[in-house]
């Protein structure tokens, strides 16, 4: 919950936060790493799903480059702050992806073939 606590303080001047302590750059890096972890989570799930259902696994794996790209910081030529535009679009993409994966998993869980006792082998 550290992340949640970090948003508690009063907002300050965006320019001041960058110039005074340089923490905005670290925040950008932490957020970029968080996006990377999310992409890896999707990749792991896609890899596991490949064993059960190739098409579903490939569909989930296809989302990984998109998530990876969404979380990359901008290259040179970006606004002076170097910060990416924070919008709702990529948040919606993640939400839609997780819900889509959940629906696919639900279909597989209910209708798909299972390998009972696979954990015991």
């Amino acid at each position: 919950m550290t992340d949640h606590e970090a948003i508690g303080p009063e907002p300050t001047d965006p320019g001041a936060s960058e110039t005074e302590d340089g923490d905005a750059g670290l925040a950008l890096e932490r957020t970029s790493l968080s996006w990377t972890r999310t992409a890896i989570s999707f990749a792991a799930l896609g890899g596991v799903m490949l064993k059960d259902n190739v098409i579903t696994g490939l569909l989930i794996l296809a989302v990984v480059p998109l998530i990876w790209r969404l979380g990359r910081p901008p290259r040179s030529g970006s606004p002076p702050s170097g910060l990416p535009t924070v919008g709702a679009l990529r948040i919606r993409v993640i939400t839609a992806s997780v819900v889509g994966v959940a629906l696919l998993s639900l279909v597989i869980a209910v209708l798909g073939p299972s390998v009972p006792g696979a954990l015991h082998r």
């Binding site: 919950m1 992340d3 949640h4 970090a6 948003i7 508690g8 303080p9 009063e10 907002p11 300050t12 001047d13 965006p14 936060s17 960058e18 923490d23 905005a24 925040a27 950008l28 932490r30 957020t31 968080s34 996006w35 972890r37 999310t38 989570s41 999707f42 792991a44 799930l45 596991v48 799903m49 059960d52 702050s81 910060l83 924070v86 919008g87 709702a88 948040i91 919606r92 993640i94 939400t95 997780v98 819900v99 994966v101 959940a102 629906l103 998993s105 639900l106 597989i108 869980a109 209910v110 798909g112 299972s114 390998v115 009972p116 006792g117 696979a118 954990l119 015991h120």
Partner: protein, 132 residues
């Protein structure tokens, strides 16, 4: 508040319309985004756990639907958690833009209720399976 009013409150108008409030400190915006991503990964973990239970666990003797009883709710709750996380991100971002206090999060309560509920269902399934 009416149902449509509650829905409107969750819709990300405040996050997308710069004229509403002012751009918050980027650190807080990024922290809000990281929190959302962490909840999304938690949702994925619930989905994976549910799928693993249904697909990989051996059947419970005497409870033929036991695996589905445990796995399907986890998958559904994973999807719900992702949607609730989105709503939380919107509410927090709007509060940051307006300089308001952050709204109380329902996510810890939601996750705690999910885990407690699944623990109860697991105990019931195991007990019934053991008694038969």
């Amino acid at each position: 508040m009416s149902r449509s009013g509650r829905f409107a409150a969750w819709w990300p108008r405040g996050a997308e319309h710069p004229e509403e409030g002012r751009e918050p400190d980027p650190r807080f915006t990024f922290a809000n985004e990281r929190t959302f991503l962490a909840w999304s990964r938690t949702a994925l973990a619930l989905v994976v756990a549910g799928l693993g239970i249904v697909q990989l666990l051996p059947p419970f003797p005497g409870v033929p639907v036991g695996r589905h009883l445990l796995g399907v709710p986890l998958i559904v709750l994973g999807a719900v958690l992702a949607i609730v996380a989105y709503g939380e991100w919107v509410r927090n971002q709007r509060a940051l833009r307006r300089g308001d206090p952050l709204p109380r999060s329902v996510m810890p309560w939601f996750l705690a209720a999910t885990i407690a509920g699944m623990a109860v269902i697991s105990a019931i399934v195991l007990l019934v399976s053991a008694l038969r």
